[in-house]
Symmetry: C2
């Protein structure tokens, strides 16, 4: 370790030490942590994960110990170097796509090549013809060409149909002319465009024979392969500093009548005929939804892991951090000394943090289920069966919105629960939060997305005569039918512990969703309310529906299954009574805490009574008590290594304070001596001194 300041080495934190406090927490757990880790990941993925972690941890280029001190240019330099390094390691160790993804997740920093991997290659693969793949895909895989994906424009985000950039077919030369008609049409935000990519997928309005066919994808070479300078007619730049993602060169781009061969329009689905400029429609509009569903399912899955990470840091630190003496129930050392109470013992801290643990598990399990459903859809769609798509599109839209909202709010709650140190970059929260945040905006703004989910559900309700006819019963249909059978039914709870019954939980969530839907349909159909005037209600419907799905999936995961339908992970879970017990507590907390957060909607329908809501609060408090001894073990089970967390507060070994001061001593500002006289124009007496 190098540092600018020598910290006296004889000083230790006052007792009890963080390592002792965490050991004590771990000894209280009622289940086997390793077993739960296996039930989450399975043995194969876990061993792959450990193997890759070992390689990354010991690689000096991928060392993370200096990143918190870096400014934008330095950080970008680091990101470029690490992106190169991962490509080199992937070649050396012959990583497949999944292994590459694990490595990227652990290195945990978007970089200049990220979009090349995650968008450019898949777009050519999914939308290019065989000829186009030969021409572009192979050199791209060899990194001879590096691509980006330019869709959003300076004045146009969510509404792809509003894009202004044009691509006009010129029959004389059999070319397209790409052009930026206004400043608002400048391509904006494309990751890797600013400084890195030499090719781009450009979404532009296809104009042929004077007709506007709307946005289509074109491959455009944008920089010279030798000099790396932008090609004539193309203006490119980085869009500047951002809240998060400063390791990526998100870029802007303007075209001044730039010509590309007709060949470069990605033509697996639509094409333009040579010479005549005749346009051929895509065979099936639905195909393009598949990618959106996939990307959103990844966001849902990642929301679970992001929550696990936030909970890991804050729960561990709350076990180490002590504030005030709880006089009614003081913390006493073996030597009889009364010390300040660990903040994890305060009910308010439990009320803030344990629901986050529960959210992490709930969303993790739904993420798994959605991922499997997507695989099933891909399988069926390759045989021309698109029956799963509409439902999957509706639920992933709403779940992407809900889960990323939950994650962002909870990451920030966890950060704030760390008190002052939560503001330090060393907490591991600040970069993490900023980099996670855009999940609420990209791939569909979270407010706008809820319209898609609600539109689908409302449409289903409006055609409710179909309900009983459909064979494949969706959850929506299930709870709608139940509601319609008796709209004035009441919740059956008569004591707090009744809230632990999964049937009761689902009935409550189902009734509330159905009630909101029925009310909105009434407003639209019978009171002729405009869609715009209903947007607040529409948002509520999507959330209500998706909360039902999350609770439903968690309950399903814990329900007995026939042994032959279970994979390894489920077998581990269902063979261990102690795992099932603790996860049942977690599931209850998730269902009940989410209910409490949205209580007014449950009360408004009249289904839940004020008296029952008081019982709900009692039962939540009971769930917090159940989870208390297992809090640290439940976050440990996610197996998020210190290399990923990069946090002084969330370290596995509890050496919080030692790490905080060690990392502070490395702050480059500590190498500078000031001239503090306010009337002297000189600022520093020296440049940065050498580290000691």
């Amino acid at each position: 370790m190098t540092s600018y300041i020598k910290i006296p080495s004889h000083l230790t934190p006052s007792d009890p030490q963080g390592s002792e406090l965490l050991a004590r927490e771990r000894s209280k757990a009622t289940f086997d942590v390793n077993e739960l880790t296996l039930a989450l990941y399975g043995s194969e993925e876990l061993s792959r994960f450990k193997k890759i972690l070992k390689i990354l941890e010991s690689d000096p280029i991928l060392d993370k110990s200096n990143i918190y001190y870096m400014g934008r240019t330095e950080l970008f330099k680091y990101a470029l170097r690490k992106d190169k390094r991962i490509i080199q390691l992937a070649a050396t160790h012959k990583w497949n796509v999944d292994e590459f993804k694990i490595a990227s997740r652990l290195v945990d920093m978007s970089g200049p090549y990220s979009i090349h991997q995650s968008m450019f290659l898949p777009t050519i693969l999914g939308q290019g013809t065989e000829e186009q793949k030969r021409k572009f895909l192979n050199p791209a895989i060899r990194h001879e060409i590096i691509g980006c994906y330019a869709q959003t424009e300076l004045g146009h985000g969510s509404n792809v149909q509003g894009l202004e950039t044009t691509s006009t077919y010129i029959p004389e030369t059999d070319e397209f002319e790409i052009h930026t008609p206004h400043l608002t049409a400048a391509k904006w935000w494309a990751g890797g465009l600013g400084r890195t990519a030499n090719h781009s997928v450009v979404m532009a309005r296809l104009i042929t024979n004077g007709q506007d066919k709307g946005p289509h994808p074109f491959i455009v070479q944008i920089r010279d392969l030798t000099t790396h300078e932008p090609l004539p007619g193309i203006t490119i730049g980085d869009i500047g500093p951002k809240f998060g993602f400063n390791t990526t060169d998100n870029g802007f781009m303007l075209f001044d009548h730039v010509r590309i061969p007709r060949f470069n329009m990605l033509s697996k689905f639509s094409k333009v005929t040579k010479g005549t400029g005749e346009y051929k429609n895509p065979p099936n509009e639905k195909l393009s939804y598949g990618t959106m569903v996939f990307v959103r399912s990844v966001i849902i899955f990642n929301a679970g892991l992001a929550l696990a990470r936030a909970a890991t840091i804050s729960v561990r630190y709350s076990a180490v951090r002590r504030q005030f003496v709880d006089k009614e129930n003081p913390m006493i050392l073996p030597n009889g000394q009364v010390v300040e109470t660990a903040v994890l013992d305060y009910t308010m801290q439990q009320y803030r943090l344990f629901p986050v643990i529960a959210q992490a598990y709930a969303i993790y399990f739904t993420g798994e289920i959605i991922t499997n459903l997507y695989k099933q859809y891909i399988d069926q769609s390759s045989r021309g069966d698109f029956s799963l798509l509409a439902d999957l599109h509706a639920s992933t839209s709403g779940l992407k919105s809900l889960t990323s909202d939950i994650a962002v709010d909870s990451i920030e709650d966890c950060r704030r629960s760390c008190g002052g140190h939560g503001y330090s970059n060393f907490s591991g929260f600040t970069r993490f939060y900023q980099d996670y945040l855009p999940n609420t905006t990209w791939e569909g703004d979270n407010y706008i997305l809820t319209q898609q989910t609600a539109r689908y559900i409302i449409h289903s309700k409006q055609q409710s005569e179909e309900f009983s006819l459909r064979s494949n019963e969706s959850p929506t249909i299930f709870y709608m039918l139940r509601y319609l059978s008796n709209p004035s039914q009441k919740c059956t709870v008569i004591s707090p512990s009744d809230f632990k019954n999964p049937e009761v939980q689902l009935a409550i969530y189902g009734y509330r969703a159905a009630y909101l839907i029925a009310r909105a349909v009434d407003q639209i159909d019978n009171h002729k309310k405009s869609w715009n005037s209903m947007l607040v209600e529409i948002n509520r419907i999507s959330r209500a529906h998706c909360q039902y799905i999350l609770v439903h999936n968690f309950i399903l995961t814990l329900q007995p299954q026939t042994s032959d339908s279970m994979n390894e992970k489920r077998r581990i879970l269902h063979n261990s009574p102690s795992l099932k017990t603790v996860l049942t507590s977690v599931c209850n907390l998730f269902a009940l805490h989410t209910m409490e957060k949205n209580l007014s909607e449950f009360l408004e329908s009249g289904y839940l009574s004020p008296k029952q809501s008081e019982m709900l609060r009692v039962q939540i408090s009971e769930s917090l008590n159940e989870i208390r001894p297992n809090a640290v073990a439940l976050v440990d089970a996610f197996y998020l290594p210190d290399y990923l967390l990069n946090s002084a507060l969330g370290r596995y070994d509890g050496k919080v304070y030692e790490t905080m001061i060690e990392w502070a001593s490395k702050e480059p500002l500590n190498g500078i001596t000031l001239d503090i006289n306010p009337y002297s124009e000189k600022l520093f007496r020296n440049d940065v001194k050498a580290k000691i």
Copy 2:
């Protein structure tokens, strides 16, 4: 303007232009913006503000156009230079303390000297003897000594009584010995300590004659006045990069048996006698609460301005930004062209943003009232009358917590309502948000503070027989008495517009607060619940009480007053029917939206019925419609200049897109050309190129 990239100058945004859209908004307002500005600030403060703004705007050292690109060291350098510059300007223009504060607010960046001004000087002034003031205050005012305030320790934040640093009286030499016994006792977070200060107020446990008298303030010289190096036995450093406040050198400090003269214990209230080491108690423990009340009242006031700033940026940008065509009610240009709809026309955007405008006004008026109340207290306390203190302490604690929570949440909501561009530093949100955020943690963590408010209120309730005896009726007593007169009363609303009645609003808020208090007292007194087990309810009580106060104060501001009790600002307001009309709409939206956000508590008590809650939603929607034509004018009235906002999105002139691309072209990364070959270890082909 210098930039790295040449943007084609012939491109303009597509029509309609931002300037036209904002002009159209401004022409729709139903009131005179200048009149409202005067009613907010008064003519004297406004002209002072304009005078100082003019000086700052034209000062090249205080130019803000490059700050978004700077890394930590550069930014700190900038902050040091601007801190020096403000001191120079203050001397040149003979600014008084208020004028200095206006300048600091406009420059809007904490710096290395900030704590010297805001904590070091006031502490000596408030807690030093006349002799101590002579010795320390005068050179400090001349900036010969620069001070900081070291209280918080690495392991100790909120609980001052838990501090570990000791100051032991040594009778032999008549000195104190300051010492850091453990690593957790390292002073941490002190602003200006890291690199700047040469003196510090150090809070340390006073030990004399073997007895621990708890934390007291000592003045310690910490750096050499010539070399600016730390003195022997003292280790100092900057604590490293943070979320926000990177322009300040928050520092850490460790003491190894450091001696200071006995004279350096700030002794206005407590002292230690020479030789005998006898300790003299402070005459009145209450005195130290005064400063806390003051600091919290400033935070409350600033929360209103922070909300105004967030609303200004997001409302203006929402008038310029257009997304999708609202088919039921499209936006049509004079030439008949249908264009995308301004996002401010979507009800969801109104539902997100207009309540923030309302919060800004509500908190601004409460901030004024609290500030006046504090002045009244200071006046009375100088005559030995502390009767206002307990109430003021309780309400400022809870209001600090509530208003800073509202501000943080709403700033972030406003940022997200700006879509993708909200992530750019150029939005004016990112640094603003990060720098505002610590208000939720410092000067009392927002969760912990609510305990102080609730404890006071609960204590009042428990001694409820006193209620009718007290002459000075506080709001708490008013609503408690009303509740106790008939705990099973019901809300009288029978149509949505009844919710506009201020009496009805106050009755609803009062009942809900009283109900929560009565229930908690019952749990504590009759069911022997521990304080720790009640923390969630306690938090609710404080919020309920403080929401009542905010609504109450807003209503009070708008109520007719006798003309001789009014100052200039109130006279302007009460002489203008158009101002009163628009502010009444704003007041209603604040009261009703806040009610809806906490609806479950109103429903749970049974005071509000589910049917009434539906009427509430109808009335909120009505309030949004009332505010729509005045939205831009209401934010304009806060008179926050572009110099303060430093935002491409929130510019007064609406030139959003032109500014975004101009600022992007200045990103230093745009001066770099990469070597993108993943197998080349070289990263850049050049260092940063000269700007064009």
